[in-house]
Amino acid sequence: MSDLLARVSEHFGDRLIETLQGVDMPSLRLRPEALLDVVAWLVEDGFGFLTDLAGVDYLKFPKAQPSRFAVVYHLYDMASGRRVRVTCPVGDDLKVPSLTGRWQGADWLEREAWDQYGILFEGHPNLKRILNHHEFVGHPLRKDYPIRARQPLSENDALVDEMALRLRARGYVLPEVERDLLAGIRGSDHGVEAAPGAPSHGSRGGSPVAVAARPVGQGRLPEGADLHAELMFVNLGPSHPASHGTLRTFVALDGETIVAAVAEIGYLHRGFEKSTESQTYNACVPYTDRLNYCSAMLNNFAFCKAVEKALGLTITPRTKAIRVIIGELSRIIDHLVCIGTNLVDLGALTNFWYFFNVREKVYTIFDKLTGARLTNSYGRVGGLARDFYDGCGADILVVLTEIEAAVAEVETLVKRNRIFLERVQDICVVPAAMALSYGWTGPNLRATGVDYDLRKAEPYDGYETYDFETVTGTVGDTYDRIFVRFGEIGQSARIIRQALSRLPEGPVMVEAKGVSLPSKDDTYNNIEGLMNHFKLVFEGVKVPAGEVYDASEGANGELGFYIVSDGSGRPYRNRCRPPSFMSFAAFPDMIEGHMVADAIASLGSINIIAGELDR
């Protein structure tokens, strides 16, 4: 038992149900009433970062559990790199205390748990559905919800309730507006009067610790904002040229300044987690393609790595190297898309083609390698679908040079361009404390100056052997988010060159009976081989019962998979920790007090990929 678990059990004694050293991290199960105290103690101990929060339904779990539902929290200690899992069983009243007071990121995560499992978070300021439609009946991730059930849904969510919350927090009184919006009348025709003596909010400060908490919607209003101004309500999205994917941001405008914003997601929710529960592990891989479809293979590898961790499997050196090469190449094209489209949002269209021209060439390589351009499904549990084709390395080296030329060209166009710099510097600043509170990871977090990169913090696939640097920003504005990605493209190219120069020979699949398919010769000529093949395809790779959380550095940040296995060949619960989800949760707070044009520019800079956001 680890030191941490010993100290926790000593401190809390029988308020814990059990402590357990999992394959991935120490894990403790506690009584619901102890949750807030234990979390407070853990935060005090350094676990200041809420990585993930997810519900689990143990209705059909073979091993008896203390309760049907549980909420699982993954906490992380950024200073020392420790992780801990806290499992909170949910009583019959389905009530769990909310952690929104501690982490702003918990807001959306708890809404998702409510949406998918019907778990009630006491103290949550706005517990409503997030991924599913507001008319949806039932909680789809519950084990008794049929996977093929369909519901007709018609009416859009007016979002007036959330907007009202946010506007009230700013001192606007709204009965008129709410009534009119509900009646479908244009809000712009009616002024919103400020309440007498309404508090005015200063600039967003944020305390230096990660746990700084603010009430919902305490964004920034410009100094001397006119609370008597007439507001105009505009929907930016879900179908809007700049809403990369289908996102909806409902904003209240004073002139062109956003005084309050509400984000609605779920337009691309397709039940990734529910669907994968009925698939064998290898059959889940194509589903992961559709998460962040700009860098599909990074998702493949992240998922396979999580399953391999649960299996306790070590993959071959060549697999590791190829995963690094293709993963970094995927990261590069993801960043190219992000920067390219971001610059389009800023009105600089030409850069988009410079990037997309080379991106097409990368896709041609992917096409030759995997047979698909966008959704490659290249990863397999225990290895890869196939080895490099002849001359793949040379192709990659050529395209790397072209990428670097394109990046240099675009950098020349924007780097000293006064218009560009004025548009992105000090715009939509997210300080480190706020980013951590929202659970930001990846380039967005690094732009705020926090040096957190899983390739360095928890090296996997041999990343510790490569010579590369993390790139961090200093302010956390749109500029930093763009240029951190520029920097990372260069670093990824460095990694690829090193990996290609010392690419080991060998197989790209582990030799393990229960994991890798037998050779074709074996399958066709040997009854054991045939049966092995048959069992593997139909029943899947058997993962030992238990739970595991494993994360990789995706293009947008920490892409984690929390897998609960019941010992069968299909995941009992397959939770994806999507970095975009955490990033977008902060979006309304980011843009309040800024102008519409800046909101659009910063939406591009946090690189929301709807496939990953909505799953």
Partner: protein, 483 residues
């Protein structure tokens, strides 16, 4: 014959009207073509090349312009529910009408004197007010934008309309002041007189073009021109990433087409005015109209022959293109498209050669050319020069658009009111003062030097800059990050 001479004046008016409209309406699609092919060239892609007339003639993508017109005209015209139909329909008409009327005052060549009794100016409208007409008409264009934005009953349109209105009004002032400085410089409000004045020589060798006499005025004017025609970096009224399509979001079919055409007509008109005021208009440097007319006999063979040689070169290039690229490429009529155009150019080459030869022969024989020919020759040269300058300027507009990002609304306002307005006022003052001294225009080029010097003193000593200079790099890579 008197009735003929009298009606010749009316005929000249009609011809001028047709000619200036024809120039605007031919340069406009050319500009659209230039924009498409130019952006493609800048962005490393082939650009439009699919549409073909009769399945054969693609004309390097020019057929797309025609296809677009057919598409826009034949598309359903949707008028959304809840719009104010009158203003909704009026707006595109206003927007398309303004550049057409503004272009009318632009002289495309010098006054043609066919005889002692008959002379016609080559601008449709020869007004005593001259450039005041331009001010009057451009100010009206804001109505089209306002009507479109407001009548559409769409929030994006409204926001676009508001942005555009504020922008147009703000930039009209520095633009007008820059033009007023030009009026002071040349002492006239008549565009044609202005162009004539630009034919004189500065210090005996440099044409007195506006760009040399008023470099600051040129920068001010062209910046404002970008803003007035809503192009990047000032296209925030339409900023498609933010406001979908701004004030014309709700328009479709040919009503949208009018906005689209108006955008390019405005571009051509702005370009034409810039050429007129700053780039010497129809002036061919060092060859004023009088010289062109007087020396027509010696100049004509050269000019016509030169044009013929250009056509011949184009014809030859097309044959090479056929040999290298299209021969046997599709196996049908499309293979021979370059040859068809090559033949057309070759015909032009022959015709020009014949004309040049004829003039040369006439002069060689010591005979006089027919009296109507030299003035027409001069006008032809001047129209070509004007069009060439105009197309070059249009290309610059295209170039800028595909290079720069877009401003933000408040930044545009800041630039207009805090930088351009004071600068244009100062420019006007300085021009006035400098024009008072006895050497007149000869010393005007010192104005930018004085301006830059004063700006430097201002920044350095009087108001030490509080303006934040944007950092060009603030990234931390690697080891330093953890330190």
């Amino acid at each position: 014959m008197t009735w003929l001479m009298e009606s010749a004046d009316y005929l000249a008016v009609v011809l001028r009207l047709v000619l200036s409209a024809a120039i605007l309406l031919t340069v406009m699609p050319l500009t659209i073509y230039l924009e498409r092919k130019g952006s493609a060239f800048i962005q490393g892609r082939p650009g439009p090349n699919r549409a073909a007339l009769f399945g054969v003639f693609r004309m390097g993508g020019l057929a797309h312009v025609l296809a677009d017109v057919i598409k826009l005209v034949s598309k359903e015209d949707i008028i959304p529910a809840g719009v104010n139909r009158f203003y909704f329909k009026l707006a595109p008409i206003i927007v398309a009408f303004i550049p057409l009327t503004t272009f009318m005052i632009v002289p495309i060549a010098d006054v043609i004197r066919l005889s002692d009794t008959f002379a016609t100016p080559m601008a449709t409208l020869q007004l005593d007010g001259g450039l005041l007409w331009f001010f009057a008409m451009t100010s009206l264009s804001v109505y089209g934008v306002v009507f479109a934005g407001w009548a559409s009953n769409s929030k994006f349109s409204l926001l676009g309309g508001i942005r555009s209105t504020a922008q147009l009004l703000s930039y009209e002032i520095p633009m007008a002041l820059a033009v007023v400085a030009m009026m002071l410089t040349y002492g006239t409000v008549q565009p044609n007189e202005m162009v004539r004045a630009q034919g004189e020589l500065l210090w005996g060798f440099l044409p007195q073009w506006g760009i040399f006499l008023q470099p600051l005025g040129f920068i001010l004017f062209i910046t404002c021109a970008f803003a007035e025609i809503n192009r990047v970096p000032f296209d925030l009224a339409e900023g498609e990433a933010e406001l979908v399509a701004g004030y014309h979001t709700e328009y479709s079919g040919m009503r949208f087409g009018l906005f689209f055409m108006a955008e390019y007509m405005a571009l051509v008109t702005s370009g034409a005015l810039t050429v007129t005021m700053f780039l010497g208009g129809w002036q061919l440097p060092w060859l004023p109209t009088e010289r062109l007319v007087a020396d027509a006999g010696t100049l004509m063979p050269w000019f016509i022959g030169g044009a013929g040689l250009l056509l011949g070169a184009a014809s030859g290039r097309l044959i090479r293109h056929y040999q290298e690229y299209t021969r046997g490429r599709w196996g049908d009529a499309r293979d021979f498209e370059p040859l068809v155009f090559s033949a057309l150019f070759a015909l032009g080459f022959i015709a020009h050669g014949a004309a040049a030869g004829w003039v040369w022969g006439v002069v060689k024989a010591g005979e006089a050319l027919p009296g109507w020919l030299p003035p027409l020759f001069a006008a032809g040269v001047q129209i070509s020069v004007f069009t060439a300058k105009l197309l070059f300027l249009c290309w610059c507009f295209v170039w800028v658009r595909w290079t720069l990002p877009r401003f933000r609304y408040d930044q545009v306002m800041d630039l207009g009111w805090k930088s351009l307005l004071p600068l244009s006022l100062f420019n006007l003052l300085l021009t006035g003062v400098l024009m008072l001294q006895p050497w007149g225009r000869e010393v005007l080029p010192v104005a930018p030097v004085v301006t830059l010097g004063l700006m430097w003193v201002w920044k350095r000593y009087l108001v030490p800059s509080q303006a934040r200079v944007p950092a060009t790099s603030r990234l931390v890579v690697g080891e330093e990050a953890s330190a």
